[in-house]
């Protein structure tokens, strides 16, 4: 490690390399604070060339390396290793180009998600994916996690808005993915690979025209069931809102305690429906949404007609994760997906789990696409409660898989959920993913130990082992 740090100082200068134990601790975890490790070395490169050099040095020393953006990840993707190097992109914050004529921007990986929209806004454009962490999280982290946001129901995820990436490959080469290449969509496969296939050093994003009209509705129901009925009816009417978000009674209670969002009193569930697009479309569809919500039993409808009113409606929802801190000493933020039509059944099952284990669960979810964020509340001062909360949290993922959904909709697998991967995928499926991994990172040094349950060495990737070599195969039927 010491020799490596020396080499890094030659490449980056003294202020680009951190080895002081106290300062290293700053980087010991991401947004999932239960997993911690002090990194061996932290480097703060400023260019792609420097990252390429760092990666080549790591390869030569057989030392694992991990990229880190802003460290807001919620699955431990950027969890460092004591025997590894953490490559932090916080000095790569340049917006290289806002290219309005081509509706795109070229940015460095450390640029925050929101900064792109802010730079584009004067031109009438914005960057569509909007994770709730957008003020802090980096575009490089978004690329790695294929991050979504409240508005991805209509607009899609990071993968639908990134046109090309310059990356440093695990070989230490600089190359471009996307941007006109025919053939395998390596850009698409890179996005969402959680930093295991290389490090993004430039990102070309699509800019979206700021919508002409935005209308937001807050509908209050006596409970989740009626709210869910409204969601089904909206989708059934052929309407694709920009966002449909739901909160249950406990989540509302927390939000009121934290930010005093002033949602209708007595609401057992609130639904936020936002429509955007051309004025004439939005106005017409909004009336239908209002009617649908009323028919489904909403006892109060509030319409936000300008940005200030809209912000008021969203305050409660956007604060929900942090807000539960007001009603519970500790909590787990879960992220799972079910087919939207299975929501009522799964929510009922979560209720039952909660009662069984005596653990409260607050539900906040992207109702339009079935992405649940159950907040599992517990008191770590009460013996055994933490363990029971973890069990409930795990059982919720089981429910998601049983109903044909996913163990993660946007927070990623990281270290947190790698053991759940076998519940969604069989050995052959995971082996095939490993083939891609080995094609990019044969030495298994690029963010190793994340995403996949039992990492195999590339030489023994089963796809290769079982695939009979053609020379052997010809005439050697007994090998079958």
């Amino acid at each position: 490690m010491r020799a490596l740090a020396e080499r890094f100082r030659e490449i980056l200068g003294d202020d680009g390399v951190i080895t002081d134990p106290v300062r290293l601790r700053t980087y010991e975890c991401d947004g999932l604070t239960v997993h911690r490790a002090t990194p061996g070395i932290v480097v703060l490169p400023g260019t792609a060339e420097q990252i390429a050099e760092i990666v080549r040095e790591c390869n030569a020393a057989r030392t694992p390396y991990i990229a880190r953006g802003s460290g807001t990840g919620l699955s431990g993707g950027a969890l460092p290793r004591a025997d590894g190097v953490l490559i932090v992109t916080s000095r790569m914050r340049r917006i290289i180009e806002i290219d309005v004529a081509n509706q795109r921007a070229v940015v460095e990986p450390g640029v925050t998600n929101l900064a792109i929209s802010q730079a584009a806004r004067p031109h009438g454009y914005y960057y569509a994916p909007d994770p709730s962490s957008q003020q802090i999280c980096s575009i490089g982290g978004n690329v790695a996690e294929n991050s979504g946001g409240a508005h991805c129901l209509k607009y899609g995820f990071t993968v639908n808005h990134v046109l090309a990436c310059e990356i440093v490959t695990p070989d230490g080469e600089i190359t471009w993915l996307g941007g006109g290449d025919p053939g395998y969509d390596l850009l698409g496969a890179f996005i969402g690979s959680e930093g295991t296939l290389g490090i993004a050093t430039k990102v070309v994003v699509r800019l979206t025209r700021t919508p002409e009209a935005v209308l937001t509705l807050l509908a209050a129901f006596d409970g989740i069931e009626r709210g869910g009925r409204a969601v089904s009816a909206i989708i059934g009417a052929g309407i694709v809102p920009a966002a449909i978000e739901m909160m249950d009674a406990l989540a509302i209670e927390a939000a009121e305690a934290a930010v005093g969002c002033g949602y209708p009193e007595g609401a057992g569930a609130v639904l936020i429906v936002e429509l955007d697009g051309p004025e004439a479309e939005v106005r017409h569809q909004f009336e239908r949404v209002e009617t649908i919500c009323a028919e489904a039993g909403a006892f109060e409808l509030r319409v936000a007609r300008d940005d200030a009113e809209r912000a008021a409606v969203w305050t409660g929802r956007k604060s929900a994760f942090a807000a539960v801190g007001r009603i519970s000493p500790a909590y787990i933020v879960q992220d799972g997906v079910v087919p939207r039509t299975a929501l009522p059944e799964v929510l009922a099952a979560i209720d039952a789990l909660s009662a069984d284990y005596g653990i409260r669960v607050a539900n906040v979810f992207h109702a339009g696409d079935g992405n649940l964020h159950p907040l599992v509340l517990f008191d770590d001062a009460v013996p055994g409660e933490g363990t029971r909360a973890e069990e409930v949290s795990g059982r919720i993922l089981d429910l998601c898989v049983e109903h044909g959904g996913s163990i993660t909709g946007e927070h990623g697998v990281g270290v947190d959920k790698s053991r759940y991967m076998t519940k969604m995928f069989g050995d052959d499926d995971l082996d095939t993913m490993q083939l891609l991994r080995c094609a990019f990172d044969p030495m298994n040094l690029c963010n190793p130990g994340k995403v996949f349950p039992t990492p195999r060495l590339c030489g023994e990737a089963p796809g290769v082992r079982r695939g009979v070599h053609p020379l052997v195969a010809s005439g050697e039927a007994e090998l079958f």
């Binding site: 959904g405 909709g409 095939t432 891609l436 796809g463």
Partner: protein, 424 residues
Amino acid sequence: MDGGATGPAGGHGDVGAALRAACADVRPAGEGDAVSGVAASWVVTPRSAEEAAAVMRASARHDLAVVPTGAGTKLDWGAPPNRLDVILRTSGLTGDVEHAPGDLVARVPAGMALSDLAGVLAEHGQQLVLDDPTGSATVGGALATATAGPRRLLYGTARDLLIGITVVRPDGAITRSGGKVVKNVAGYDLGKLYTGSYGTLGLIVDATFRLHPLPAARAFVTAVYAGAEEAARAAHQVAGSQAVASAVEVERTGPGAPVSVAVLLEGVPEGVAARSQAVRRILGYDSQVAADPPVWWGRLPSLDGGVLVEVTFPLSALGRVLAAIDEAAGRAGARPAVRGSGAGALCLGLLPDVEPSVPAEFVPLLRAELGPLGGHVVVRRAPDPVRPRLDLWGPVAALPLMRRVKERFDPGYRVSPGRFAGGI
């Protein structure tokens, strides 16, 4: 020729028996069972993923080169395979569509035609927004060649709509990635790799897509311009406007000819009416609003065996790209018909009877012209006499990485070998 147990020496009999053990529908290849002029020995038509997997395993054991084919609309696209034993037809991989209207998703067998799928989904007022420029492509074929049509402008292409996929690997393992929900980031999204793979990584057996509601109303606004620059300006302005067009297409029958611009608007009747007027204000008062598309809409400029070239470029370069096409065409003596999207993707067609020296000159000239504009030129299809004289793919930045992916997935180079760039 009899492909049975009494076949010629060299293990043909064993091969036939092995394939027949794997799949009920196996026949020796006949006249015309070829891919871009390369003749096959066997044609197999599996009826299920399991049968297809058994065929792949048998092929692996006997070192057979396999090329999957769907409806065959694009079989002459890309490069010819550098060897070929088995044509694997996906026409038996049909069966039922698993359509979940309430979830706006559908799982579709790879051998199903996109047009048949459209009928199934329409029963519930839904659609897969993947325009098929050939008119009769299968789902698997559309994915493998990553074709797209006009509405790519608003909805993206196959890779943006695909949420799950089942693929038989070259060694015969049946593997899945993605899932049945739109929002899902568990594991690598291998569907992206297979999209545009020209069948070189395995056999797609089914695919799950995100769907959209069928719009209540649509309108086409069209205008014709004498000059390319003027047409490009109008198209670009519509693409950046608040009309939120589903598609902005251009068409030109040849160099110097007038350029048509057609804009598709979809939505509720009131909205479409208002937006049509807004688009007319951009396209000019000679523009027309119609309920139906122009005849050339969404179709390739050359369906009949001619040279087909795809050009991609940044949005604002349309005018310069049209001028560059004219320039290169003039120097090479070519007369390409042009159709495509204001979203930065044009298709150029040359007639099948074109003198081979013409495209051989035209394509490199075009690449030279478009390079500085950030454009890429890929020859999708070229007839036999023309193909050897062309670099079909042009520069592919990530080719070394793609080759490494191929070598992991198909170390024996047995699945559609050579169909894609660099011998992949």
